[in-house]
């Protein structure tokens, strides 16, 4: 295990924000740390980086205890916490050069990182003038600068446009697949995590609701087919007669559990052939709220 915590707890005053957390992050994984805002994700991450002193429990990173091996462990971690911490009066390159100096990293690596996050052209511009997406990318470059074994990223796709999100996702997949890195990434978007994570931990109100392989999660967070038609009642009856389970019927839409693309096509054809006009049909993921309900039910 790259990260292993046991009974990790933290309180702000009398309010307990992290409750007896036991994380298991295997080597080479992309571990998606999923939870709504305020669930305790950032607090947990700050404890993993020794920025917050743990009230209770222990943290092992690379199978070494964090408190007693702080510097050795931190030298193998690259991190991005909340919004990227960037000196606005310095250029993007200067921000990286400053960090390279502190980490004892070769200056050549700075240009490599700028190219990697596609900031080479804006390298000389003051970082204060960067867009949010550019700042986020610079933050990722800063995290990757020391070529760390473990990347801890707190909501790294915040503020990125769809292209930027895809690029980051591909980069993280590449890092774990080709360079044997481990990535611990937090997010409040289930769809985001499902697209790249190999392992998932779900936290709500400071408690770990679920932890395991992404496949185990998929079993719980079954996607649905969302159908908008002119006649919802007839459509629901027709589908049920054809042995489809209709999960939800609303005024102008209904949902059916998703199995495969073929099945989605068959459902569409069936409705059309029976004179029901389909306005829209698409695959939908459960939102976090519904996922929490499913997890609580399955427990």
């Amino acid at each position: 295990m790259v990260i292993r915590t046991e009974g990790l707890s933290y309180s702000f005053g009398s309010q307990q924000v992290v409750k007896s957390l036991s994380l298991q992050v295997p080597e080479g994984s992309i571990y998606g740390f999923l939870g709504p805002n305020g669930a305790g994700k950032t607090t947990t991450i700050k404890m993993l980086l020794n920025l917050l002193k743990t009230d209770e429990g222990s943290i092992f990173v690379f199978e070494k205890e964090l408190q007693t091996n702080r510097i050795a462990i931190l030298s193998e971690i690259g991190s991005l916490i909340e919004q990227p911490a960037i000196y606005a009066h310095m250029s993007g390159r200067e921000n990286l050069l400053n960090r390279a100096m502190l980490l004892g990293v070769d200056d050549a690596r700075v240009d490599e990182m700028l190219a990697l996050v596609k900031l080479s052209n804006a390298a000389g511009k003051k970082a204060g003038q960067y867009s949010l997406g550019m700042k986020q990318r610079l933050g990722i470059a800063l995290a990757l600068l020391s070529n760390p074994k473990l990347l801890i990223l707190d909501e790294p796709t915040n503020g990125l446009d769809p292209n930027g999100i895809i690029e980051i996702r591909e980069l993280l997949v590449r890092l774990t697949r080709d360079h044997k890195k481990t990535v611990f990434i937090s997010s409040h978007l289930l769809g985001e995590i499902e697209k790249m994570a190999t392992h998932v931990g779900i936290i709500n109100n400071g408690e770990l609701l679920f932890q395991g392989d992404i496949k185990d999660l998929e079993a719980i967070s079954q996607p649905m087919i969302y159908i908008e038609t002119d006649n919802v009642v007839d459509a629901a009856n027709l589908l049920q007669r054809n042995r489809y389970e209709v999960a939800n019927v609303n005024n102008d839409s209904l949902t059916v559990p998703y199995i495969s693309k073929q099945q989605m096509g068959t459902v569409n054809g069936l409705l059309n052939q029976n004179g029901i006009t389909v306005f829209a049909i698409n695959k939908q993921h459960k939102d976090l709220e519904n996922l929490f309900l499913s997890i609580t039910k399955s427990n």
Binding site: L51, K53, I71, L74, S79, Q83, A88, M90, L102, G104
Partner: protein
Amino acid sequence: MKGFILSFRSEFYKSRKTAGFWGAIILPFLISLLALSIFYFKSEKFVAMSGMLLWLQFALVSLGVMGTLLLPIYTIFIAYSVNNVEHKADTWKTLFSLPISRWSVYGAKFAYAVFLVLLCLSLFVLFTIGFGNLLSLLKPELKFNTYHLEWVLTQVYFKLFLSSLGILSIQFLMSLLWSDFLKPMGIGFILTIVGITAASKGWEYAYTLPYAHPMVALSSMFKNKRGPAQDIAIDVFTKDVFVAVAVSVVVFIAGYFIVQRKSVK
């Protein structure tokens, strides 16, 4: 030790383009330039003076403002400036998740603030001496070349430097803990007024107040106070200087333990 040196270099790198760093250079330059212009344009007033008196008058332009209000205010500003870089960029969390000990990060930052004050005061010596010599070329009728004030001036400014350390350490800690501008500035300013008042009224225990130290340092610098002497002897290590240094050591160490225990937001 390596972490400390890296952090110190990084402090310099970060501050190169900030008012905190340039203030340390521009402040002594401008004030010395002011002295230069006074003596240049009003040279007839100073022609009659002896070399020693002339140098003293010339140096007192800078020393006068620095010794009273400016040194405490400048010190407060430096303490704010080196910490504000991190508050503004929200970089404390990255600074303390580097593979560098907290001690090095904290120590280097404090050392850099000390360095800036030292740089500023050294440049006062340099510019005063430099401009004095320049004046003796531009206005040969002024008797700058008949006396040497270098050693005395170095001692005086060194004494001022030591006397500012108490203020620096207190302000440094306040600026480290509070991210806003008003709290450390406001408190520092009030304490400075109290310090100056105590020192200027000649309160016998003024030497115990860090914010009074720069002013007390100037009034306690002459060894022989009776009449004008042929040579000036400077008393650097007076009790107010010892108090200033002691306060800075204690507050610096106390600050380390606060930083060590503090959670980084």
